[in-house]
Symmetry: C2
Subunit: 334 residues, 2 copies
């Protein structure tokens, strides 16, 4: 389907469900962007979930969001159970404002929800020559090292910086062996997931996405990844006043209350300590890219490079709307 046409439909659905014009636009843009960068698990496959949560009053379509200034650099946003996109958009903008004034911005968000891709917000900061680190927690998916039960979310670690090249350097990595969204997409499409990335509810390895969703995703790198997931839960949940320690509700399955996800945004100027940051980072990337490669590799790519290529290529095409998504759209429009 044509991108503009699809945007109009999604936007109409969001406003029909009670979102303000500006909130509907922010949310639509985020969903369409996820489709364009090929992160389908964060795209249209989630639209019905958001609408269901609004309908069941666990997302507040007309939130009274409060921004509390802690210092010139530091702010706390109480998102009042808004759709996550709106809270995250506000938070990155506030972080950027704080960083522009004082060199560094630290913004915590509580009472928020799933906001899609951290990298999407990182790009906003990077476009203004800022460096950013973004953390969010998520519903239980990954078992802490040594445990049989999932508790940590896929808790992404996101880092963005100007690169000196066209594509910004955006690392946006889950600490789970597999993205939960990807498992959902596999489940929707009746496809298998790779081996070694998940266990079923009894602790046995599985390639069945439905069993994996009931079971446990494995963290990257054993105790190291488990520690990183724990760090993200602390930074985005414990610190901010958000839910943590496995209390974030699964947005698809649990409508007993708002998610109260927490996020943390750190943004700072890239030229705080050196005058020629862009020259330095460009040189850094150039040196890495010129290293001798293993046989199967044509180009060494930096994080964010492939994403921009996918985005550019997808911009020229229509967005593929699967049968299930089409059904969702029709239902939500009716």
């Amino acid at each position: 389907m044509n991108k503009v046409e699809l945007s109009k439909i999604v936007n109409k659905i969001f406003t029909n469900y009670g979102l303000s014009k500006s909130h509907a636009k922010i949310s639509t843009d985020a969903l369409i962007n996820a489709e364009l960068v090929g992160a389908y698990g964060h795209g249209l496959s989630r639209l019905k979930m958001y609408c269901d949560r609004i309908k069941k009053k666990v997302i507040n379509p007309k939130p009274k969001i409060k921004i509390k200034k802690i210092s010139k650099s530091i702010s706390l946003i109480d998102a009042n159970d808004s759709i996550g996109f709106v809270a995250a958009d506000l938070a990155i903008k506030q972080s950027i404002e704080n960083a522009k004034k004082t060199g560094i911005g630290l913004v915590a968000v509580k009472n928020s929800g799933h906001y899609g891709l951290s990298g999407y917000y990182a790009e906003q900061a990077v476009k203004k020559n800022l460096i950013t680190m973004i953390y969010t927690n998520a519903p239980p998916a990954v078992a802490p090292h040594g445990s049989l039960k999932s508790l940590f979310g896929t808790n992404p670690i996101c880092f963005g910086t100007p690169s000196g090249y066209k594509a910004p350097f955006i690392l946006d990595t889950s600490i789970s062996m597999i993205n939960r969204g990807k498992i959902r997409v596999a489940a929707r499409n009746n496809k298998k997931i790779p081996q070694g990335v998940a266990l079923d509810k009894n602790g046995k390895p599985t390639t069945d996405p439905k069993k994996a969703l009931e079971g446990v995703q494995l963290p990257i790198a054993g105790y190291r990844g488990s520690g990183l997931a724990w760090m993200v839960d602390i930074l985005s949940g414990v610190l901010t006043g958000g839910n943590h320690a496995g209390k974030v509700k699964d947005p698809f399955d649990d409508f007993t209350g708002p998610q109260n996800i927490g996020h943390l945004f750190i943004v700072f100027k890239s030229n705080l300590f050196v005058k020629n940051y862009k020259v330095r980072i460009k040189k850094n990337i150039k040196i890495v890219k010129k290293l001798p490669k293993i046989k199967s590799v044509k180009n060494i790519v930096y994080p964010g490079e492939n994403k921009l290529n996918r985005f550019k290529s997808n911009l020229k095409k229509n967005i593929n709307v699967s049968y299930n998504i089409k059904k969702d759209l029709d239902l939500l429009l009716s």
Copy 2:
């Protein structure tokens, strides 16, 4: 050997090599601490290296360290090729001071050297109820994803927070499958290293630590770990004015100039956004620890917990001084 006695010897060696009393004490304390927490690769096995570098004038024993105030929250330290311990000690203290004044401290360090364990400095901040994130780069050891040549250092990611328990929560994780220090210790003691953690210089898997030191260490989690290593190189090298992109010299092998390692210290108050941070983090940890465990696991531990236990247990004992270390001490005292 008795801890006090050994400290005196190391201290005497450092002052003999030209360090001031206070710099010798800072450096000695860091080395002895590494022994006590069982991080032998960062302990006495490095003493001779530091002294050799001072002798060859690539560590400056009498540095004129400059601290430049960028804002109330942000400082840049030019360590003037000091021994890394001294630069890092100054940096964490400056970060703490900035954070206490404004809520957040960001301190970059350039022209520094290897400073041992990030977690050692994190503990200083955590003792004052602060949260900290510390990054440093290191000589080439890990191959970027897709490359045949090592370029990233083992580039640790360190995160520390008060835990509400006796042991602070200190995550101090290398992004390498194995710590370079551990490979060195294995090489010194003619022991093998595990499989799957390193390649020799021709790209073949090896368990020979000497071949691994000439070759490539593997990053954790493939492209994800490679991205994290790259992030650390950018934050600690590109941003600060330090060396980066594989330019940090190996302190053991390359005496052609100072290392010019960069570090980045982020410190902020734990109660910026919630009043009861300690209660929240304690509850978080308690919930994780109470999860059902896999059969072989007795306790789920949080990062830093085992380290404190090792420290306490080792405090009661003498420090084991191997034949090679004894030889170093005798040589350096003569």
